[in-house]
Every structure is written in C-alpha cells, then in structure tokens.
Point group: C2
Chain length 237, copies 2
DNA sequence: CTCAATTCGTAATGGTAGTTCGAAATCGGA
DNA sequence: TCCGATTTCGAACTACCATTACGAATTGAG
C-alpha cells in the first residue's frame, strides 16, 4: 500500500465498517421478516450478525436506528424503479398504470421488502411527523404529491381518464388503496392464497384492473350504446 | 351461602367480575391506541385500570389474552352491522355498495377500532393459522367467502356489474383493497389529512367510488361523450 | 354480627433486554 | 519490527417486565 496517502487506510477501515454494517442490516432484515420487527431484540440481531452486543453499539445504538437504515435502502430502490417507469409512459393513464405495475412487480419479486414496509407503517406510523410518513408516497411518485393532481388533469385532457375525477382527491385515494392492498397481501402472504384459492399477485393485479377500469374514460364498448336515447338515470343524474 | 340457591350470590360476584373485566379492556384499548399494542406492558394496563398486577392475573394471564378479547368485541359489532346492511340491499351492486359503506362509516365513527384491527393484523398476522386470520373477512360478509363469488355472478346476471368480472377473484381483490385502504387511513389518521389536504373519510369514499365505477356495468353517463370523435387513448387502447 | 368466599395489595423472585467500560486483539503505516 | 489507531470482546451493571405467594381487606348471605 502506498505510503504518502492517508486516505487508503481510512478507506480500509471504512470499507470494513461498511461491510459490517451491511452484515448487520442483512441479518436484521431477515429476522424482522421471519419474526416481526417488534419481536426481534437487539440481542438476536447481534448474535445473528456474529457480533457481540457491545460491538453492535458501535454501529447502531438502537433497533430504531436499524429499522430506519433498512427503510432508506428499500425506499431508494423503489424511487429509482418508479421514476424510470413513469418517464417512458405517454398518456396519464399509461403513467398511472406503470406506477401500479411497479407495485405489482415488487409484490411479486420483493415481497419481503413490501412486508417490511407494511410492518414499518404499522409500528412507526404513530410516532412520525406527517412529513416523514409521507416520504413513502413521495418515493412512489418522485415528483411529489402535487403531481397527482396534474396527472389527473392531464388524463382528463388527453381523454384517457374519466372527466368526473377530482384532481385533488382521486389519485391520492387510489394510491392509498393500492398501497394498502399491496401491504396487506404481502403481510398475509401465501396464507391468503390457501384460503382464497388465488395467488397473491393475481389478486393484486385484479385490484389494479378494477381501479383502472374505474379511472379510465368510458371505453370503446360504450360506443355500442352511444347513440341510444338518454335514459331515465341520465336525465335525473 | 344458602344451599339451594347459588345463583344470586354467584351473579353478584360475576357482575363485579364483568365490570372489572370491561374496565381492564377499556383501559387496554385506550392504551393500545395511544402507544401501540407492542409498546404497552401489562404493568401499564394494570395501573391504567386502577388494579394491581396480581389482580390483573385473575382476569387475563397475558397481553395476548386481552388483545383477543378486544378483538372479539370489535368483530361482533362489525358482523352485526354488516349483516343488517346486506339484507336490505337489492341488486348485487347495491349489496357491495352497502358493505363498503359500512366500512366507510366505521372509519368515520369508530376509527380507533379500525386502528386496532390494523395493529392486530400487522402484529399477529404472522402467527395465525390462515383460518383464524380470515375470520376477519368472514365477519365482513357473514355469509362466507363463497358468497363473494355468487355475489359477482348475481351482479352480472342482474346487469348491475360488468360482465367481464371474475367471480372467483374480483370480489376478494376488492375487499382486500378496501380493507387495506381503510386500515391504512385509520392508522395514519389525521396526519394524512394535513398533508393531502383531504379528510380521511373523503379519501376513503373516493376510493370506494372509483372501485364501484370499475365494477359497475357500463353506465349511462358515458352517453355524454357519445358523439365526440374517438380520442387518441381510445384508438390506441 | 359472623362466616365463608372472593378480591386486593405488598413484596419478592426470576428473567431478559439494553447499556457501559476497560482490556485484548487487529489493522495500517513507517 | 514496532507504534498508534481502530475495532472487538467479555463481563458487569441497570432497569424493567412478568409472575407468584401470602396475608389483609372486602363483600355477600344468613
């Protein structure tokens, strides 16, 4: 190793620290998913990481520290995936569809991570300030909440969404519902499948389908009746 | 105590016991909602009930006992409300609407109870056998899961639901999503309102509206755009 | 008022999680 | 090889929770 540069030494220590850190986080993530965040103790995380308790405190001073650290990595992944998907979509409906598809993919391929988010929500929601709490949704559309409104307006304008949707309301409601459904399915896992007789991802994709049907402008099949005289309901409604 | 009539004496004692029991459950329910089930200790429940630890153990031998007891009362309420609502509805769509309305009402009027269910789900889901887990949904439609399928078929037959819904899938997906949305909103509480700028019940009712729009057979208002040229989205999608 | 059944309250026990501290081992650099 | 910096280890300590035992107090019925 070169003499004059002090950085490499520090870097070596830092690299080791980083490895240890990741080792702890991996062990914790696995334990959290196996037994539930609340039931896992620092002692367990410690021994699962192959360390001693006192060493652990050099890295994380509490279970909460670990939880927040895991959250950071999970959210970073999510944000990246979502951003990419939105950018390639054309109509507003396509963008919304892409966002929801991402969530379906994650439910299928990263179910443990979704479960982690579900647990995190349930356990920490009460202590957060609202701002922190909503970082989560912020990661799902990296452009911020206001984007929801413009998305709906855009969709009404480009004809892909129903004209009677509320720009300040609908998209928030949809995202909340989809997140809720996703987290719930991830938490219940394959036991839902046993009882419902349907795999988790089919259930979730059906949820998405129904919601998108509710959002999209009346589709072509409506054309079938479009020259019919106005009905009673239409006149009264 | 008199020989032949044991009941009166026993009843007095039992009445006291019942009062105490409820006192404990009420205190526990409040604490669980304030601090989260996992963070509440038996000691806290005990002192909040105005009892001593040893007395507590005459009633509940563990926190889990308390939790399950609370669950029992919450579910009983829910089942009664739901059953009544379904019975008065006519079309399948009306029945579904009634079920979802009940959930909206509970979110508005019994938010703490919904929060309790959310916590319960998150914390105990992993330990349950599937059968117990799904008792919850069972309470939402007291007729059982198979009823979901017949409900969809009925709706397709009576013309209130889209014909392309899947009797074995759609209703399960919808219920899961609506429960997920409801629990999530209850857990996040008014903090969502602060950030979203929309009250919890408006968000939830919008969720219901979108989902019902996705379920219902193509409606009449579509006629409004019936003479417009097909939009871009309509042509491409 | 008295007896008997029941509950209450204090105090003690055992166990576990969290935390701290100094000594020992390890690593990087000359 | 040696020195200083960094990390790890082992042990002790604190604090709190769950649980139990047992005598005191309360309550119902005659």
């Amino acid at each position: 190793m070169p003499a004059r540069d002090a950085a490499p030494a520090a870097n070596k220590y830092r690299a080791h620290r980083e490895r240890q850190r990741r080792r702890i986080l991996d062990a914790a993530e696995r334990l959290f998913d196996e037994h539930g965040i609340d039931r896992v103790t620092m002692v367990e995380v410690t021994s699962a990481s192959g360390l001693r308790a006192s060493t652990m405190y050099q890295y994380f001073s509490s279970k909460d520290d670990i939880v927040w650290a895991i959250l950071g990595t999970v959210l970073a992944d999510l944000a990246a995936q979502t951003k990419e998907a939105i950018e390639t979509a054309r109509t507003a409906l396509d963008k919304i569809t892409a966002m929801l598809e991402i969530m379906a993919d994650r439910l299928t391929n990263d179910q443990a991570k979704v479960r982690f988010l579900a647990q995190f929500d349930a356990m920490y929601a009460r202590d957060w300030p609202a701002e922190r709490l909503l970082t989560l949704e912020g990661q799902i559309n990296p452009l911020g909440f206001r984007y929801f409104g413009t998305l709906i307006r855009e969709g009404i304008a480009d004809g892909s969404l129903r004209p009677d949707l509320d720009p300040d309301l609908t998209m928030h409601a949809v995202i909340n519902a989809v997140i809720g459904a996703q987290r719930r399915l991830a938490s219940l896992g394959n036991r839902v499948e046993l009882e419902y007789g349907q795999p988790v991802d089919r259930l979730f994709r059906e949820t998405i389908r129904v919601i998108l049907l509710g959002l999209r402008a009346t589709e072509i099949r409506a054309a079938r009746v479009r020259c019919a005289p106005p009905s009673r309901a239409e006149r009264s409604g």
